[in-house]
Amino acid sequence: MNTFMKTIREAAGERMKTLYMSIVLSCVDSVLHMAMFSMMMITIIELVKGVFTPQKLTLYSGVLIGLFIVRAILYSLNYTRTQFCGADIAADLRLSLGDHIRSLNLGYFNKNSIGRLMSTLTTDIADFEQILTHSLASIFKVIFFSALALAFAFMVSWQYALTAGVLILIALPLMNAGGKMSRKYGARQKNSINRVISRIVEYINGIRTFKLYNLTGERFRRLDDSFVELKKDSVRLELSIMPFSILFSIITSLMLPVSLIIGTVMLQGGRIDTQRFIAIIMIAVSLSSMMATLGSLYPEMTYLGKAAENILQVREEKPLAYQKDVSDLSAYSVQFNHVHFSYENDLEILHDICFQAKPGTTTALVGPSGSGKTTIISLISRFWDVQGGSIEVGGTNVKELSPDSLTSHMAVVFQDVYLLHDTIANNIRTGRPGAPLEEVQEAAKAAQCHEFIMALPDGYDTVVGEAGSTLSGGERQRISIARAFIKNAPVVLLDETTSSLDADNEREINKALDMLMKDKTVIVIAHRLGTVVNADQILVLEHGRIKERGTHTELLAQKGWYAQMIAEQEKAKKWAV
């Protein structure tokens, strides 16, 4: 409970004060609740004793109505306050986490983390808010009310109070054990769900292949197996918690029958009178109903803990360090000095990479996939920091520059194009916010996309669908090139993947890319022969090392991997079916 509260405190920040207030108000409410309850108890006792009069009825009714009005007002006020506070906490968290996420190194944004960040900013924060505003006060109310009732019980009969106390002490660990069980099997079920998700995505992505090979529905065993696993794990999860939660409920519910039995026995022995017996019964009724509420609140509290933990986890991600906020680079060379690099899993991806790209030259990276080309490009824009050696842009170590100022000198054309859900003009403007429409059009013309944009119903004001879904792959790629054009940055990082585009688009994109690369310091993952042949230097990468380097002619003369690749290419050109 302590660590749990700490997590909430950290995530809720300053607004915790409002929450404390709401907890206090809830406890006041439970005192009032107890008072109403006492009115009933007094009435019953007086009825049994035969001293209940119409005057007393009026008095008690009046007190009840008064209590009700105070409770209704208190509850409304508290509810509104807490909701406001919860909404503010959620808004603050969304904004501050948003800012924090911005400052993280770009390498953090891979497929896994994007999914996780999404769910943290949406569901986790929503859960956190809801349960914080609804359940936190309730749980304190329940605990407070139970303590009050128990104290009351001690005054009436220590024997019963002790028994009830023991029952609660036996029951509480069960709830905890159930929670542990649910975490254990819950984690397993979560794994199954993730497996089902990846299999479904696989199934959908490969649906044409599966249709062709008659591997649909149950015949696609991998998917079917994962469904079966999920079913088993889900049943296991539910059934594993059940014994604990049921046992908890049985034990706490037994407080009522136990009160009847103990009371009768003590009454028989003359140790308590009728009034005390009735009081015990009433306390038992309220205690057992409170425990039932506690049982149903517990899972929500674990949920809250989980959500809070996820939020904190994102917060704990460290942003990249830097010394200079602004960078005025005069020359735009790119230099790698004995660079060693590994992603988080400690497997070294790049070994001792050394090269220099002089200002205004083109460096082409070639080599099989997985050889480290993409990693080199992402290191230049400081998506990640290197472990060994250094990378210099314009003679300054990139580690000294703030990532924002560093990327202001670079235009990057990614392999997967991301367009904003905004107009085409504004998408191009991301390259230079506030650029006038003429410049946007100029960039579009240079990127060979002016024509197709003009053919769209709203021209430059056409809104592209989410993630650019309304445009073809080639069109999206050209818009991203236009975006790079308008930025007109001295360093261009380029990934020339044009696969899955048809020949028409390819020609257009080739033109656009050639324009983009003119007079810039270009580091390009080359897929076009033309780029390679005209490059000032070619780096052939294999397994994270530079295997061959030189110009096209030099490399042909070396008769190594590069020369062989070119020969294969020539052979392919002459082939016909």
Binding site: F109, R208, E218, I250, T274, G474, S499, H527, Q569
Partner: protein, 579 residues
């Protein structure tokens, strides 16, 4: 599946199929369990009576305690039984529904996958289906007991005293009226809320997905404003609606927790006017503490119900999509087949993509489809394995309309090698063996050899058992393509469609792919969607597509001589390659 259309719960129960019995049993035990929960309170009442009457037989009072204890044990035994039945029933139903959806989406035309992202479909199969579990496993026993128990108890209360019975109901009735008024006032806000929530989620999604772009382009506060504005808007809205509803809600909760507020005064009044016995008065006061909580369950249900139903309707939308037409005709294996297009017109979203395409592919011949992007060549090829259905006209195999052929058999007849390769996250062996489930290792290796990929596979640390995908080895584009060709070679279908890649991401592989292709196409009826004209100069016929029509057909020489569109394309192409 062509039962009459059902909706909502009945559709859900239909999906549950044979597990309906589980669910029914769970409901029965749920009611039993809920009924048991009232027994202890009746025993409390009995004990109070006992005390009131001053009866000396304490054995009787002890018995009340024991009955109450047994009822509690009984309650939980019943709820364990109910819960076990409901969860078994529910999770088995989820399994059935998921399998049915995955089977069904494979039968609908491909447009479904262009219109829906894998994320959307995944959401239906995972989240919407998962919600059914809540309904089946929890709501069914809850609803039945939430409905049955108050009714039974209320009838019992009526037999004791009519005005007092209604008095117990009063807080709920008043509460509901207040809530109803509040809902009527703010009802429209619900849809506004959902819209805003959707907006918030999409703002967050853009913010995170677009982060790499935003950061490399140094987008400043201005560009993030959509995110922060939406967060603020959502916050303001939330506060406003709290302001609107908070007070009525507060009164409502206080009411529901204050059953005694009505029972005590009204009961007292009736008691003093001699129309309520003292023991009845006691009884109603005790019941005022518990009766309301059983009704509260019912109200939570209404909210849950809406969520489930929206999910159900998304599931139903998918399941109601028509399957592609299928007949009973089958062909024997091991024959050659001709393919023909007869007056084929195809529409997509009401615009014609293909008009009146006529074409015959003789058995064992090679036909090339060429043309600009969007000319219809890929669409035409995709009609052969019935990925799409022609709107008019027919695609025929050996003179039989493919809609008359059993889909399973049609799939055995046709192989399609796509430009975008698809790999399972599994071993290379499994990736090739998809081609023929019954293939033995030698056959798989032979196919790999023919596809020029065997040597490469053997060079990997685990050979054929090397895992591909996210946690395994990454293959280059050309290597993947050869695995796909190996797959098709293993399948050995008589009709082959090959969609040539425009450019290989790994240039060094291109020639090997060509050798693999030559092995694949031997003796087959082939359609080649070609982008590099030099590869098809020896094709038996070349079809030039332009704006959904076949403009020219002939051999390379004939078409050059005709000096039409093809010859222009050839000029442009050769100029490009030379430069």
């Amino acid at each position: 599946m062509d039962v009459k259309k059902k909706s909502g719960i009945s559709y859900l129960l239909e999906l549950a199929g044979k597990y309906r019995l589980h669910l029914a049993l769970s409901a029965v035990f749920g009611v039993l369990s809920a009924l048991c929960s009232f027994v202890p309170y009746i025993m409390v009442y009995q004990t109070l009576l006992f005390l009131f009457e001053g009866n000396a037989d304490t054995g009787l009072a002890l018995r009340y305690g024991i009955i109450a204890a047994s009822a509690i044990v009984g309650k939980f035994v019943f709820s364990i039984i109910s819960g076990t039945f409901s969860h078994l029933g529910a999770f088995n139903t989820l399994y059935n529904v998921r399998t049915r959806i995955s089977r069904h989406i494979a039968k609908v035309n491909l447009g479904f996958f262009t219109n829906h992202t894998s994320g959307e479909i995944k959401k239906v199969i995972i989240e919407d289906v998962e919600r059914i579990e809540k309904f089946l496993a929890h709501q069914i026993p809850d609803i039945t007991s939430a409905l049955c128990v108050p009714v039974i108890v209320f009838i019992y209360l009526l037999t004791v005293n009519v005005p007092m019975a209604f008095c117990l109901l009063a807080p709920v009735i008043i509460g509901l009226v207040i809530q109803g008024i509040a809902m009527a006032v703010t009802g429209k806000q619900m849809s506004a809320y959902h819209r805003l929530l959707g907006k918030l989620n999409s703002a967050i999604m853009q913010f995170i997905n677009g982060m790499p772009v935003m950061k490399t382009y140094n987008m400043t506060a201005e560009s993030y404003s959509e995110y922060s504005d939406t967060v603020t808007e959502y916050n303001t809205f939330w506060k406003q609606s709290t302001r609107d509803q908070g007070y009525t809600y507060g009164v409502f909760v206080a009411l529901v927790e204050s059953g005694i507020l009505f029972a005590l005064p009204v009961g007292g009044f009736l008691y003093f006017s001699s129309s309520l016995l003292v023991q009845e008065y006691l009884f109603f006061m005790v019941m005022s503490m518990v009766f309301l909580s059983s009704l509260l369950n019912l109200m939570n249900l209404a909210m849950m119900f809406n969520q489930i139903m929206s999910g159900m309707s998304r599931i139903q939308t998918i399941m109601d999509l028509p399957c592609t037409t299928e007949g009973k005709a089958t062909f024997e294996k091991g024959q050659e087949h001709s393919v023909s297009f007869e007056h084929v017109t195809f529409r997509y979203d009401k615009t014609d993509v293909l008009h009146d395409v006529n074409l015959t592919l003789p058995a064992g011949s090679l036909t090339a489809f060429v043309g600009a992007s969007g000319a219809g060549k890929t669409t035409a090829a995709q009609l052969i394995p019935k990925f799409w259905e022609a709107a008019e006209g027919a695609v025929k195999i050996d003179g039989i309309n493919i809609t008359q052929i059993k889909t399973e058999n049609l799939m055995e007849l046709v192989s399609f090698v796509f430009q975008e390769t698809f790999m399972l996250s599994d071993s290379i062996y499994q990736n090739i063996a998809i081609g023929d489930e019954n293939a033995v290792r030698e056959q798989v290796e032979a196919a790999a050899k023919a596809a020029q990929i065997h040597e490469f596979i053997m060079s990997l640390p685990n050979g054929y058992d090397t895992k591909l995908g996210e946690d395994g080895v990454k293959l280059s584009g050309g290597e993947k393509q050869r695995v796909c060709i190996a797959r098709a070679i293993l399948k050995d279908a008589p009709v082959i469609v090959f969609d040539e890649a425009t450019s290989y991401t790994d240039i060094e592989n291109e020639h090997k792919i060509q050798l693999a292709l030559a092995n694949l196409l031997k003796g087959k009826t082939t359609v080649m969607i070609a982008h590099r004209l030099h590869t098809i100069v020896e094709a038996d016929q070349i079809c030039v597509f332009h704006r959904g029509r076949i403009e020219e057909t002939g051999t390379h020489k004939q078409l050059l001589a005709a000096d039409g569109r093809y010859s222009k394309m050839w000029d442009a192409y050769t100029r490009e390659v030379v430069s």
